[in-house]
Symmetry: C2
DNA sequence: AGAAAAACCGTAAACGTTTTCGGGGCTGAG
DNA sequence: CTCAGCCCCGAAAACGTTTACGGTTTTTCT
């Protein structure tokens, strides 16, 4: 059925070993024969069987990525970049969606383990313990999560929060609300790690509410609570929640940004398209995806030494939902 | 390193053949020894090497999916379902993003061919000829594209358009604009295939504009042209364009739905969240993904006979952007 | 020219499975 | 008691590669 290395060898009048060498380690074969082999391979449309190759080399040529939700634009942004970068290095990528279920996550990791050389893991739900155990089975690189001994691609969301605070304070805000996402999530803790000191340093009065579900409905719920706190600005955990907040405020007749300012986090596509357009902070999802596979590949090659953690900058995007507070 | 079948055999005091049989074809081994083998396998945490298995069985246990853009929620919706359904059947899935580049698409298909048992293909950009050639190399199932001899999972977008027309006519609209997407795309042709006869049958005056880029910017551009045509309703090719239209109309002071009604297509998450919420038609992306892998698996098993095409229903979702035309 | 070194290439083993083939033990019938 | 038949199970071949090893040719040096 499929064309094998033996047929190429026969057509090029050489042994299978020579064919293999011609393709994977040039230097070892005479230029002239190599060309003959390449020609034969091309004519037959030969593609090496990666499974067979992997069997002997111990490397599969595959990467895996597991994400909590494939419909979340944040993760698909990462996925897109991972896929592109992997292809660039001649790796194929397996994708697995855990549906935010921690037990599915470990299961997926286990079954993936044998089929890939490494996996980039986006698993907010796993405990540190579980992640470490998983790292025993397969080379891992974490995305937006920091654990000693495991490489990670991080986004500096703490600094994103710092930028939001600076922005709001510069506009003249003195008291604002933060709508927490899930307490256990690393992302939310990072946000707080940037938010609290920045607020203190700038003398911004900070009211922490929640936690809320990081969804549209969470925003609807949170908006009323925030209004009751008499703040002039609302910092949402992410864009989706911010959209919920905007919707609820509009329903209640509160004008944005005149009466209250609102910020999001993530810079989803729709943050730019809604009206007024949402002030938010852009996450370097594509760079993070690229860095993740670079880290993984380096980690596979030079297996020894420290596990590198690289942090990527976030960027505040000022749009229409923030303005100076009304002087009333 | 990894635990192999040989170690399980040694621990269970049997031959490797017996281990293999115990796992993949029970019936052939005595109940008692089978249990011993299963116990040994469990203790060692044995997972069969799928590459080795695939080498001999000729089946990889992998599925592939290629999409034009992983950041398009439509395709990630499909992907999510495909991934879930594949896992359910104990298949892993490779994903490839062609970035809307037809030549990348054929290249990806070729390299995927050897590694998977079949692929679900979302490739609006390929010619029929190219798709047929690709089908020679790998079992294929098409998504939202119909070609004789190749199984397909289709969404009845023609009927979605029919539903839109019925809805608008019932509201009292007599003249409306359709904003074309890319002329060559199968989706746009399907939309027209539903739209034109429905409009004719209902006596709706139809102004066709475009083609436009199926993006936000395309909507901005199209809105002005539509307004100049003196219509009371605008039917956009998809939700993204519709959002562009809404934004442009608002900028120009045209009220929706009082002055003009607008409809989208796809029912993206954000269609429900913008304000006013968008009237649109929901595509059965998840069912389509599931059906696609079912078709693929059936096609692999019973290789012979007709290539089934299954068509899934679409559903009009009436929200806030459609209303009776102002009597003026 | 002769020998040592280098360059090139073929043979065969190995990777972890599945599966065919055949052998041994047991059962039951003649 | 013998033999056919059946049930289990082990030995070994096969899948398509890569690579260690060794052999043959070519080059290089004296």
């Amino acid at each position: 059925m499929a064309v094998t290395i033996r047929e190429v060898a026969r057509r090029a009048q050489v042994s299978v070993a020579t064919v293999s060498r011609s393709l994977s380690s040039p230097g070892l074969v005479r230029q002239e024969t190599r060309e003959r082999v390449l020609a034969a391979a091309a004519e037959l449309g030969y593609q090496p069987n990666r499974a067979a190759r992997g069997l002997i080399t111990g490397r599969t040529g595959n990467l895996g990525i597991v994400v909590p939700d494939l419909e979340n634009p944040f993760f698909t942004g990462v996925l897109k970049a991972v896929q592109a970068q992997a292809r660039h290095a001649d790796y194929a990528v397996f994708v697995a969606d855990s549906d935010e279920d921690p037990v599915a996550e470990v299961k997926l990791l286990q079954t993936m383990a044998k089929q890939v050389d490494g996996v980039v893991l986006c698993a907010p739900g796993l405990t540190d313990q579980q992640v470490h155990e998983a790292a025993e089975g397969t080379p891992l690189v974490l995305l937006n999560r920091s654990l000693p001994g495991i490489p990670a691609a991080l986004m500096n969301s703490a600094d994103g929060m710092r930028q939001i605070v600076d922005h709001l304070v510069a506009l003249g805000h003195r008291r604002c609300a933060y709508l927490n996402g899930p307490h256990t999530s690393w992302s939310n803790q990072e946000r707080l790690r940037g938010l609290r000191p920045a607020a203190r340093r700038r003398g911004l009065d900070l009211v922490e509410l929640g936690p809320f579900a990081p969804r549209y409905e969470g925003g609807l719920q949170a908006a009323d609570l925030a209004l009751a706190e008499d703040v002039t600005a609302i910092i949402a955990y992410n864009d989706i929640m911010a959209l919920g907040v905007l919707a609820r405020l509009r329903d209640r007749g509160v004008r944005v940004p005149e009466d209250v300012s609102v910020t999001g986090f993530d810079d989803l596509t729709f943050a730019a398209l809604c009206s007024p357009a949402l002030t938010t902070v852009a996450m370097p999802v594509a760079p993070a995806g690229r860095v993740a596979v670079d880290l993984l590949l380096d980690w596979l090659a030079a297996d020894g030494g420290e596990a590198p953690h690289v942090t990527l900058d976030t960027q505040l995007i000022v749009r229409g939902t923030t303005a100076p507070p009304s002087s009333g």
